[in-house]
């Protein structure tokens, strides 16, 4: 809406400031909302960060040892914590099936009779491992560890058999694998989970808070009071977004300085200033979607339902759990329109990888373009609804 006479810029800014201050004041008077924000930026991130670990630990294992020899015992005892927990020996195949069915054991290792004798005779022997793969992640991990244990056992036997010393080994052609894991050398799960959860929380609140602030004005009728004033729709909506962005940035700072760094010991590689700047851009972009939700809802209950409906696809298309390369082609294409995708790239890039704008400028550009499109859309919808 253009004004017939050009407004002095000072007045424009003053209105923006007055409205923003109002939003912040209102937020500070809403204990329920403050508790929610505090919960999500501290306890929630802590619970998810420390709770979700996909390491395989203590996988339950039963053994059917038909040989009971020194060799079979040696193999069995290589299945040790932390990955495996040996529950003991059973004697019948059916018993194994029953335990697997009931979920009481995850693996059953079966060593055939004459295991040791065959080994000594230089014959290769098959040992059988039954794996419960109803949880495929665990199944795959367990199988992987088990093959490594068996391979290690084999290799040790071969060396002993062939009498290869370490010196001699240096004269065998082989690939020596030097693995280096970057960014998270010890593969600490909380680093990934806590940052990922922080970004999810930021997303959820950027959808929720501006939408709630807008719908609350609709519910209480104050929106009419603002509409008869000389404020433009942009001047009504943007202060909400600024105020909520400040609140979310505050929450993010709390999460970073009270949870991520001290509790999870995440080494911040890049520039925190840049991270907060990018978070601000991201919140602005996402709040456009929040405003769109506000135009569809009549009350806060509807807002919260719609937030869930919008949030879930955003999470799907974010690439936080499933990176783009593991996505089916159509979804991979759709990720381009998910602001969270860019944010995750930027977030991990800055926090853990120490990347700067020289590397991440393309993601930032994507986020900025997408953000302005979404935000303009939100304001446009709102203006149309009010007009």
């Amino acid at each position: 809406m253009t004004s017939p006479r050009s407004l002095p810029m000072g007045l424009w800014w003053r209105r923006l400031w007055v409205m923003t201050a109002k939003e912040l004041l209102q937020l500070s008077r809403d204990p329920v909302l403050l508790i929610i924000i505090a919960w999500f930026f501290t306890a929630d991130i802590y619970i998810i960060g420390s709770g979700v670990s996909m390491e395989l630990r203590n996988a339950t294992l039963r053994v059917i040892d038909a040989d009971h020899s020194a060799a079979s015992r040696e193999l069995i005892h290589r299945f040790r914590p932390p990955h495996f927990r040996l529950q003991g020996e059973i004697f019948a195949h059916q018993e194994g099936t029953r335990l697997l069915d009931a979920g009481e054991s995850m693996l059953v290792l079966e060593i055939p009779a004459h295991f040791e004798r065959d080994l000594q005779a230089g014959r290769s022997v098959d040992v059988q491992l039954q794996v419960d793969t109803s949880n495929t992640v665990l199944g795959t991990l367990a199988t992987g560890y088990a093959s490594r244990i068996v391979a290690g056992f084999s290799e040790d036997r071969v060396r002993r058999e062939l009498g290869l010393t370490d010196q001699q080994l240096a004269a065998v052609p082989r690939i020596e694998e030097r693995q280096r894991v970057w960014y998270n050398p010890n593969q600490t799960d909380p680093w990934f989970m806590a940052i990922s959860e922080l970004m999810t929380v930021v997303t959820m609140l950027s959808l929720m808070l501006p939408a709630a602030a807008t719908v609350r004005e609709k519910e209480r009728g104050t929106i009419e009071q603002l509409m008869v004033s000389p404020l433009s729709p942009f001047q009504i909506l943007f202060p909400k977004v600024i105020a909520m962005t400040l609140a979310i940035l505050g929450g993010t700072a709390v999460a970073v300085f009270l949870i991520l760094i001290p509790v999870f010991q995440i080494p911040i590689k890049g520039s925190l200033g840049l991270f907060f700047a990018i978070t601000a851009v991201y919140v602005l972009a996402t709040s456009g979607l929040g405003l769109f939700i506000a135009t569809l809802s009549r009350n806060l209950g509807q807002v919260s339902m719609l937030v869930i409906v919008v949030l879930l696809p955003m999470l799907l298309l974010s690439g936080s759990w499933t990176p783009p390369e593991a996505m089916p082609e159509p979804l991979r294409a759709a990720m381009v329109i998910s602001p969270l995708y860019y944010y995750i790239e930027l977030g991990y890039g800055i926090l853990l990888k120490g990347a700067g704008l020289d590397v991440l400028w393309d993601s930032l550009l994507g986020l900025a373009v997408l953000g302005s499109v979404i935000f303009s859309f939100g304001v446009w919808r709102f203006r149309r609804q009010l007009g």
Partner: protein
């Protein structure tokens, strides 16, 4: 207990659900969305890992070595980089997740029967993926090493290649994958997600349904009438349990059709068990609705008390075995643990009532407990 009154309340509720379009849509869309989003979005298959190579040797053998990776479905070759320095931005920008650095004299050393070190840089942002990548890497290198060794033995000890091959791997592990032979992670995820969906959606619907009436003030019609607490709760919740029962069928269908999960168990048993689970989670919603007064509070409280147990304490993502003893016993306090066993048991293991009766009994116990507490906590003459 007058059934006619229960029916009256149930019919009214059902009409309201039908006519509130937004509510109606979300009642069916949210479960579907959770299924699809998490089913596809939580794909934990690690495949097509994008990688780049710095080849300082540029020999026939080094190219063969790279081919071992680029030919695997687990890896996706993105090209050669000129130097280690060039890898940094590629990893930082997530364009590759793995880099191999092949030293100069790779071919020369191998042909001279000497070990050669190959450097692998792995993106460790998501530890689970890094772990899996390491596993694949070791498997390929291990295979190559065995070939090199048997070849070496054949040459130096004059064995036949077959004998040499047999000699270097005396013990072979035969894996038998039970219940999900093809290791389709979608199958596990989809059938397991029923636990989450059927926990979250009935609780949400119920909590919102009751709180809505509290917020609008129409709850006073109930307070002021002679309808008993039991009649009201039963009548009010029946439509939501009904919607959820229908949702059981929808998500079941999605799991088998969209994600291709097999269903090996007894359909009738599974449906009834799910129904008990749904009644139980609707009871959670009932309790929430008695505690809070606004829809927003209902949504947030329900979200916190359903999502977290169903995601973290059910065994769906985090293996129960991996938890500490305290956390593990905590997990057994929440209903989702038991339903996940029923879901995987019915879908993948083909189990029935004889194996799963205990889990069903626990859920039924929970349902009875929650509804009884709800019945007593609900007051027709509140303090405010």
């Amino acid at each position: 207990m007058k059934l006619a009154r229960v029916r009256t309340i149930a019919c009214k509720e059902w009409r309201e659900i039908l006519r509130d379009r937004l509510f109606f849509t979300t009642a069916f869309v949210v479960p579907l969305l959770i299924m699809l989003v998490l089913g596809y979005g939580l794909s934990l298959d690690v495949e097509n890992i994008p990688f780049a190579v710095v080849d300082h040797d540029r020999s026939a053998l080094s190219r063969d070595y790279v081919h071992r990776f680029s030919d695997s479905r687990y890896f996706d070759f993105r090209g050669y980089a000129t130097s280690e320095r060039a890898l940094d931005p590629l990893l930082a920008d997530s364009r590759i997740r793995l880099a191999l650095i092949i030293p100069a004299q790779f071919q020369e050393r191998l042909l001279a029967d000497r070990p050669v070190a190959v450097q692998a840089l792995i993106d460790g942002i998501f530890p689970f993926r890094a772990q899996t990548t390491k596993g694949y890497l070791s498997a390929i290198n291990g295979q190559l090493n065995r070939e090199l060794l048997s070849d070496y033995l054949a040459r130096t000890r004059g064995l036949t290649p077959e004998r040499a091959a047999e000699l270097i791997s005396p013990v072979r592990l035969q894996q038998r994958y039970l219940y999900n032979q093809a290791i389709e992670s979608d199958w596990s995820m989809a059938s397991g997600l029923l636990t989450l969906v059927l926990m979250v959606s009935p609780a949400f619907l119920t909590a919102l349904g009751v709180v809505r009436e509290k917020e609008s003030g129409s709850i006073y019609n109930i307070y002021a009438s002679t309808v008993s607490r039991g009649e009201f709760i039963l009548g009010k919740l029946t439509p939501y349990v009904g919607v959820s029962a229908f949702n059981i069928l929808i998500v079941w269908w999605v799991a088998t059709e969209a994600f291709g999960a097999p269903f090996k168990g007894d359909p009738l048993f599974f449906f009834l068990a799910s129904l008990i689970y749904v009644i139980c989670t609707a009871g959670i919603g009932l309790l929430v609705s008695i505690l809070v007064r606004t829809q927003v509070a209902a949504v947030l409280v329900t979200m916190v008390i359903t999502f977290i147990p169903a995601m973290l304490y059910s065994g769906l993502l985090v293996p129960l075995e991996s938890m500490g003893p305290a956390a593990r016993s905590e997990a057994y306090l929440f209903p989702p643990v038991y339903f996940l066993q029923i879901a995987w048991g019915s879908f993948l293991k083909g189990l029935g009532i004889d194996a799963l009766w205990f889990q069903v009994a626990v859920l039924a116990g929970y349902a009875a407990l929650l509804w009884t507490v709800g019945l007593f906590a609900f007051s027709k003459r509140p303090r405010r």
